[in-house]
């Protein structure tokens, strides 16, 4: 005689909750906007670092704007501008260790920025500008 451990999967179907009032929908958008101050700080940093490293922004400034916003967001939430184009298991540890803090190690050492924020002149997508205004950032990202 054998004893077995048997598992049963129980599926619970819940009836849809009835709407209280028809036509009165409130859309809750869980989006955290980075503070204007952080955006300005990261914008200035990006301009200065592009100048210093001899790199250029993308010919499509929308790309640059999104990355700068992502950096500002991480700066607000973690205290350090972690690369916004990567996935992390432990953001706090990564921010403290610093490999992926902008400018990340691959950028610092090899001038490789996979976010396409800092592009070397030989890159096909590089524009010819090392500046971006706050208005340009806001316009490019207003529909996000």
């Amino acid at each position: 005689m054998t004893s077995q451990a048997s598992t049963f999967a129980v599926s619970v179907s819940s009836a849809p909750s009835p709407l209280r009032r028809r036509g009165n929908f409130s859309v809750v958008r869980a989006q955290v906007e980075p503070s204007d101050k952080s955006i300005e700080i990261m914008r200035k940093f990006s301009e200065q670092y592009a100048r210093k490293s001899g790199t250029y922004f993308c010919s499509d400034k929308g790309v640059t704007a999104v990355v700068i916003k992502g950096l500002a967001d991480h700066k607000d939430s973690l205290g350090a501008p972690l690369c916004p184009c990567r996935h992390y298991d432990d953001k706090a540890a990564e921010a403290a260790q610093g490999f992926w803090n902008c400018p990340c190690v691959p950028m610092r050492e090899r001038k490789e920025c996979h976010c396409m924020l800092f592009l070397t002149p030989d890159n096909d997508f590089a524009g010819n500008e090392q500046t971006i205004t706050l208005d340009e950032i806001k316009e490019s990202t207003e529909n996000m």
Partner: protein, 135 residues
């Protein structure tokens, strides 16, 4: 007398008995009885990198770095150094997702630093260098 199935019971055995039960039970619960094993091998990783720290290595791919102060560009191809650290392990139990985990220290005899040959550090992947067997 009767065999008692515990955690130590081989999976194949349990799988066999569950499938026989499956025929009797309804189709909706048959999916739930399938058992899966997920094995996550982490053991080898740490041990492997521990042996590499301190090892003498030579860069085997074309590589340039631009972060050394006062030297705009240094060609690392063929240069030899030693591994100082594996940055993907941090504070005992944390893992960092660095894609260039090996911190290698180089001493460039052909470039003069402030005090003797120039010393600098670069981060490398494990497929960019080869270990030098000590002579």
């Amino acid at each position: 007398m009767s065999s008692i199935s515990t955690l130590a019971t081989p999976l194949a055995f349990m799988k066999k008995t569950t499938t026989t039960r499956r025929n009797n039970s309804s189709s909706s619960s048959s999916r739930s009885r399938r058992m899966m094993t997920i094995r996550c091998d982490v053991e080898g990783e740490e041990g492997e990198s521990q042996t590499k720290i301190g090892a003498r290595v030579r860069v085997k791919v074309p590589l340039k770095v631009y972060h050394v102060p006062k030297v705009p560009e240094i060609d690392l191809t063929g240069r030899e150094g030693h591994i100082k650290q594996n940055v993907s392990f941090w504070k005992d139990n944390k893992r960092i997702s660095a894609n260039l985990p090996y911190k290698v220290e180089f001493i460039a005899n052909d470039i003069q630093g402030p005090r003797g040959p120039l010393k600098f550090v670069a981060h490398l992947r494990d497929d960019e260098f080869e270990e030098l067997l000590s002579e």
